[in-house]
Symmetry: C3
Subunit: 157 residues, 3 copies
């Protein structure tokens, strides 16, 4: 018997996206928690394909374009966490909201350009169901000195 591939997994394949293998959380929290049809995903981190956490200060030693790529890496971590939590990403009916914390230099003002790295990925993967509300602020410090952290609220079937 042939097992039909999930629609979103097929979409990821078309886009050439391989979701990362997740490390276990190193502290007292879980990656995602459901309440009714909402899933609240924890703040996720910019970890590259080699498992390296991206560190630095956006607008100082990290450029806006590099930070945009970090936001995309964070989006991949979020997608991997959601697939782990839901088993099947086809259960996502809507990505509702992202909240991004960017570790920035004082005068930095390009938060939207950076966050689009994650938002555009989400929309490429889910289409109209990936269009979401969003908030972003420039924080003073983040765990491990990383550049960005993004959490998400997702509606599921």
């Amino acid at each position: 018997m042939l097992l039909a591939m999930s629609r979103i997994d097929r979409r990821l394949e078309e886009l050439g996206i391989v979701l990362p293998v997740l490390a276990a959380p190193t502290a007292s929290y879980i990656r995602a928690c459901a309440a009714g049809r909402l899933v609240f995903a924890a703040g996720h981190d910019p970890i590259d394909a080699q498992g390296v956490l991206q560190r630095g200060v956006i607008g100082a030693d990290v450029t806006t374009e590099a930070a945009r790529r970090h936001a995309e890496l964070t989006g991949l971590q979020l997608l991997a966490a959601l697939r782990q939590h839901l088993d099947d990403l086809d259960r996502v009916t809507r990505v509702v909201k992202l909240f991004g914390l960017l570790r920035t230099a004082p005068g930095f003002a390009g938060h939207e350009r950076v966050m689009d790295g994650c938002s555009d990925l989400i929309e490429r993967v889910f289409g109209p169901a990936g269009r979401h509300a969003r908030t972003a602020g420039g924080v003073f410090s983040l765990y491990g000195g990383m550049t960005i952290e993004i959490e998400a609220v997702i509606e599921v079937a």
Copy 2:
């Protein structure tokens, strides 16, 4: 046939409040996204009646009282976004939570006074249904150098 005016629109008129015309988002997000009976509104900005984004650092070049007025301007943007999303503000059964990011000087401690600019507006408009939970923090930078950004969770009928 006379069309009855919405209760909240009548209330806005009584209070002399004219909701602003919204600009289209300039990045990859939407102003509000619903999931069941909850609406998650994106972080909104302090834009005045002339369409000017209010910039600066609260506690440095922006006073607490000016920032309080910026929080109120942000509340007007949130209300306009909600009316656009819901068509009719009478559908709001509860404003559940506000989350405010204030761009401040390091020693600033007057976050509550500033946020009340938005909270008091919301309560004047919705009455008891406008009484909400709230979180506020002083961030290091915000998009475009603006002074404040506020997101909201709303329950609707």
Copy 3:
């Protein structure tokens, strides 16, 4: 007639935890607001048993271990606010998410260790129903100069 003690109140007693008496909010917000089966708790503060707000900058004049204790104090405030809101903590079916704002020195990177002070408390009290998603960022300033502020999303029966 003997009135059965609530399961969670009994658990608090076993753990030797006495929930603090809450002060009334000093600004235009409420401590918790419900929408369906979700309760959104406002950002709460690190107030000790004597009612003193814990002030300072984590990583500068406040050590990581002291801040961890402040996170625990904040957790106690959250629990007291929930009990006030729900009447009975047995109604909690899941602590879904915490969002922590830490007032830190620029290079600080120990956010997870600090937040565990609150997360571990929540899990000791609620067991598996206390395992939650989490986000934390290092902010530049907080109300009253306090060290930490934590909000929560809770699912109730």
